[in-house]
Assembly symmetry: C2
Homo-oligomer: 206 residues x 2
């Protein structure tokens, strides 16, 4: 399957479908329909059928989808049929919350290590982790062959951290620092900045 | 200005431009160009000029943009020329981190109150806040005329919280619970779910 052929907008919807399917399984359901899925995620049934058809045949006309089967298929497509280890950089409020976030369980991710550069934080415990010195970050990440990282440092430090992560072999960065970072084309970046999300909404408020 | 005429994709870029302009001001800069802005946010100069032209004339051909002026204009467009008060629902790890998040300063938002329904949390202090009983949430939010809220409760509680927020008059919800919620068309919802962001990236990894 040529990845270039699948529009990115479709890829962004797959994790939303997957999250809903996982919830349905938790609720004890085993079969669903594009109508039901659509109502729960706020996307039309036609769009869902069209999106899924890009990747194969997952249901039979009129019989709906076997949830467990569809879940496994989407997990394979998203490459989370195995667990990705994550390095967290920055052990402030956000980094600490992220390192202990229970929402990664069953979603394909596991925080493996957390770094900070402040002497008073190094070797302190957060949940099950001991905060490591970010001076050793590049080596530790490379040695553990970690490909996914989260940046939770202040804006002014984010680019330098990103440079080190890239040098360590990281290929996907989730950046919580409120600043755009530059990385090579072979590395993916996504951003979480609550102020940006809020401003997207206040535009529409009086 | 008819809001319907501005494509939503353009609106989503304005906060990113604004964040960069604020950083430039912090760096002591007073003038920028669409080229420079574009390099820093990873968007083409032509796209930036086109986006901004939707809202008016903000710079002179060949002279660039006065950063402070452009910042104020974008803040007005996004309705953050005044501060929005926020109610946070859920005082777990995420809610506590969000309530104390320093990244709202100068970005148009201020957390005003935080709620939880667990007896052992009510009246506990988080930063400058005392956690309030969510039984009083609807009334407290309505009385304070708060229009913006963040949901930081477990997935299974999110819809009920959303219903109460809507009933209290909230018009914009940032939902950290990993589930889609239904609200009337007059209410905006945005989502923050790090697993979704990560899955969007692992799709492209081997």
């Amino acid at each position: 399957m040529n990845k270039k052929l699948i529009p990115e907008i479709i890829v962004t919807r797959l994790p939303v479908y997957l999250r809903c399917l996982q919830r349905m399984l938790q609720e004890g359901k085993s079969v669903t329909s594009s109508q039901e899925l659509g109502e729960r995620v706020g996307i039309s049934a036609a769009q869902i059928r069209k999106d899924l058809s890009q990747f194969g045949e997952f249901g039979k006309q009129g019989r709906g989808y076997q949830i467990e089967f569809l879940r496994k298929q989407i997990e394979e497509i998203l490459h989370i049929d195995h667990e990705w280890e994550i390095a967290v950089v920055g052990a402030g409020d956000i980094g600490s919350a992220v390192a202990q976030y229970r929402g990664f369980i069953d979603r394909g991710f596991k925080v493996k290590m957390i770094f900070d550069n402040k002497p008073e934080k190094i070797n302190q415990q957060i949940g099950v982790f001991y905060i490591q010195d970010s001076a050793n970050m590049k080596e530790a990440i490379r040695e553990a062959d970690i490909k996914v990282a989260m940046i939770c440092v202040p804006a002014e430090a984010a680019q330098e951290v990103a440079n080190q992560l890239v040098a360590a072999g990281v290929k996907a960065i989730l950046n919580y620092a409120p600043i755009n970072i530059s990385v090579p084309k072979s590395v993916r970046v996504q951003y979480i900045d609550p102020s940006i999300h809020l401003q997207n909404m206040t535009y529409y408020l009086e």
